[in-house]
């Protein structure tokens, strides 16, 4: 697995628009070959900082998407809600797992 993480800073007051733009982008990503899922993380200590994690099957699949026009088209509505250009960091994933839909032992 390969992860592309975009660090984003929101224009003050644009939370609803920014999160809506990410939801719309997620809908587009679901048809991308190699796309494995994403999370939008909102910094819990303040309003403006977000990290958007995009998970891919391989670096090659990410790069095919990243170098296409589809990436720019995906980013444009999101970037309109940012106070500065996003910064991108890429990660290999040496260890993964442990996700649970409910607490250990059942319930919830």
């Amino acid at each position: 697995m390969f992860v592309a993480a975009a660090e984003e800073r929101m224009i003050p007051g644009h939370r609803i628009e920014l999160e809506a733009a990410h939801r719309e982008a997620l809908g587009r990503l679901e048809s991308e070959p190699g796309f494995r899922g994403s999370r939008l993380l909102h910094f819990a200590g303040g309003p403006y900082r977000y990290i958007w994690e995009l998970n891919w099957g391989s670096r090659e699949e990410w790069e095919e998407f990243f170098e296409s026009e589809r990436f720019a088209e995906l980013r444009a509505p999101i970037d309109a809600e940012l106070s500065e250009p996003f910064s991108l960091t890429l990660y290999n994933v040496p260890v993964a797992g442990g996700w649970r839909a409910s607490p250990p032992g059942g319930g919830g």
Partner: protein, 209 residues
Amino acid sequence: MFVIVVQIRAADPEAQARQHGVYARIAGRYPGMRYKHVMRSESDGDRYVDLMAWETQQQSEAFGVDPEYQRLRPPRSATRTVPRFLRDDNPGYYGLVAETARPGAAIARQQVVFVDARPGREGELAAAGRRLAAGAGGLAGLTSLRVLRNLGWPARHVVAVAASEAVEVAEAGPTRTAWERLAACCTAPPEWESGHLVVRWDADDPGGT
């Protein structure tokens, strides 16, 4: 409790007081607003520290999209200019570690300090903060002492004091030891900042200042 702490630079104290007063009036219409206290620094008259408390973050966010409040914001612009004082930790989102408060008591002076815990000593700092708040209940003239922890950076804490007369928690009998323990957990010696109140809104006294 969810507390937003904002450090602001502005040169016009009357305009700042008017703006914060309007914010308080609008926010007071929303359930869950608990207090808004704005301090103007004595050492730097262009610096303000604003503490605004809500019962929950969701209630704060409901206020954040209020149309009247949004009209107070700078308009959207192609340049997306953002005031320089706004950063990842400013505004900061905080949770309450401990407090002692006397509702309705006067506020003649405020003090605030921002501290960072040494790695691994965050829990110890919070424990010292709880002892500090407990001891502060014995201080004459104290209106409130609150210890807050940043919800995204667990090392970052704020201690905010409001009093009707001069109170030095670092020196007073009931709080000196707890303060020394708290300070020993910090990455740097804490530096208190003092100031006076320019806006006060409390849920139990919405007439405010």
